[in-house]
Amino acid sequence: MSRSAWFPALLVLALALVLAFLGLPVAAIFLDTSPADLVGSLGEPEARDALLLSLRTTAASLALILVVGTPAAYLLATRSFRGKAVVVTLVELPLVLPPAVAGIALLASVGPGGILGPVTGDSLTLQTAGVVVALTFVASPFYIRQAQATFAALDRSWLDAARTLGASEAGAFARVAVPAALPGLAAGGALALGRALGEFGATLIFAGSFQGITQTVPLAIYDRFATDFDAALALAAVLVIVSGALLLGVKLVGRSAAFAGA
């Protein structure tokens, strides 16, 4: 091997390993599921309920994350203040928390016996709203982190120009910063969405598992795994397809918005 060729070869080898490792289990889901099983599994009420619940709760959680997370990330990206590093670390902490810890932490804070228990009572635990809370808790850092990085990388001179031309800060945020950051925001949203769709541990511990109320697709898969492996596999395939399609869709929207904005 010539001196110059080994490094690219190493890169290709590394990528091949990554693809084989990440791709094989996903491929196995589809190789083990016949299309008939896939369609059949969607016909069962338990699966349909789980899928609808997953879509509803994930959409609600993503909406919350976008509406609150975007301005919060903008502040973190455009201001420096005392203790900012601590704030940023706090925001990122759920990224490294095991989901079970997230579930326990939610119980200890907004569960009926938690710190805010007198206020929240049992309005969240074992309720659909509790699923949304759990998803938002684990998924929001994925979006906020990415949004903050995207806003920070924006060319400040655009924002300054907008301000010079008479735009308020709110105007500059809404009409310049957000459109310019859209591809990055979309990528962050896609990550948060994926994390929320796949959430398991925090949901089970905080919200429980009940068909149509709190049993999202990952919980339904776990519930079926013991009794009906093929049905669990079919539902898993559906989740992979839906997640993949959403991820791709959000990315495409972000890209076309970026082209339109440019």
Binding site: W6, G111, G117, L204, S209, F210, A226, F229
Partner: protein
């Protein structure tokens, strides 16, 4: 560079356990035991005193563990919270002949203080919140047996109050101790393990299901003798004592 990469690969393989043999540093055989979640306390206590092997446990709902074995996962021993699952696996040729090694008692568990529910009849009141095991896990199956004994009307009233179907009995315990629900059906040993946080309400004798635990050596394991010795210990050795201390009864 190539040597470095090779060394990295070898380190990776070692770290992930490729080529690892089944004996631990002390020379004792290593036994992997897939066990029902309700055996957690008894088996963890046993692990400290058990000298014949290095024990590793995987606790979960018995149904999940059985499903893993069906999918080719090979623990040395399978210990379930019923006899149905090991019997079925034996019929399928996946485990050796199972034996019954312990019994337990299904109870209604509530918070030790300020409980909303004080009897089985209290579960029928609208607004009471209940957690049960999912249909496939033994505790969930026993629970449904009890409820069907109540007759269709009362059983429906109780089922209408179910707020969560948990994958194993520890999930039910967690939901009660975190006051997410008012009550749940668990085993007496689980209430014991909460050291006073939960209180057990005994079920009427006529409704009590027979809760027997079956254990079997998984077929095709490398050290069937050590696995067999572990099961023998559960029947008459320290294992029996550990089970008794955790409030599990002897086989009938």
């Amino acid at each position: 560079m190539r040597r470095l990469a090779l060394a990295a690969l070898v380190a990776l393989a070692a770290a992930t356990g490729c080529g690892e043999d089944e004996s631990s540093d002390s020379g004792r055989p290593q036994l992997t035991v897939s066990a029902a979640a309700s055996l957690t306390e008894a088996f963890d206590a046993l692990k400290k005193d058990y000298s014949a092997a290095d024990l590793r446990f995987s606790f979960a709902g018995s149904d999940e563990l059985a499903a893993q074995i069906r999918k080719g996962v090979k623990p040395d021993v399978f210990a379930a919270a019923n006899t149905k699952l090991p019997d079925t696996l034996a019929k399928e040729g996946l485990v050796e002949k199972p034996v019954v090694f312990a019994t337990n008692e299904l109870v209604l568990a509530v918070a030790a203080e300020g409980a909303e529910v004080s009897s089985l009849a209290g579960l029928e009141r609208p607004g009471v919140k209940l957690a049960v095991g999912s249909e496939s896990v033994p505790v969930g199956e026993y629970t449904r047996t009890v409820l069907s004994g109540l007759g269709p009307t009362r059983s429906r009233a109780v089922l209408a109050n179910v707020r969560s179907e948990e994958p194993d009995v520890k999930g039910v315990v967690g939901k009660i101790s975190q006051s997410a629900v008012d009550a749940g059906f668990v085993y007496r040993s689980d209430v014991d393990a909460t050291s006073g946080k939960l209180k057990a309400i005994a079920l009427p004798a006529g409704l009590k299901p027979q809760v027997s635990y079956g254990v079997a050596v998984v077929k095709g394991v490398k050290q069937p003798a050590a696995a067999q010795a572990f099961i023998k210990n559960l029947l008459e050795g320290q294992g029996r004592a550990a089970l008794r201390d955790a409030a599990l009864g002897p086989p009938p």
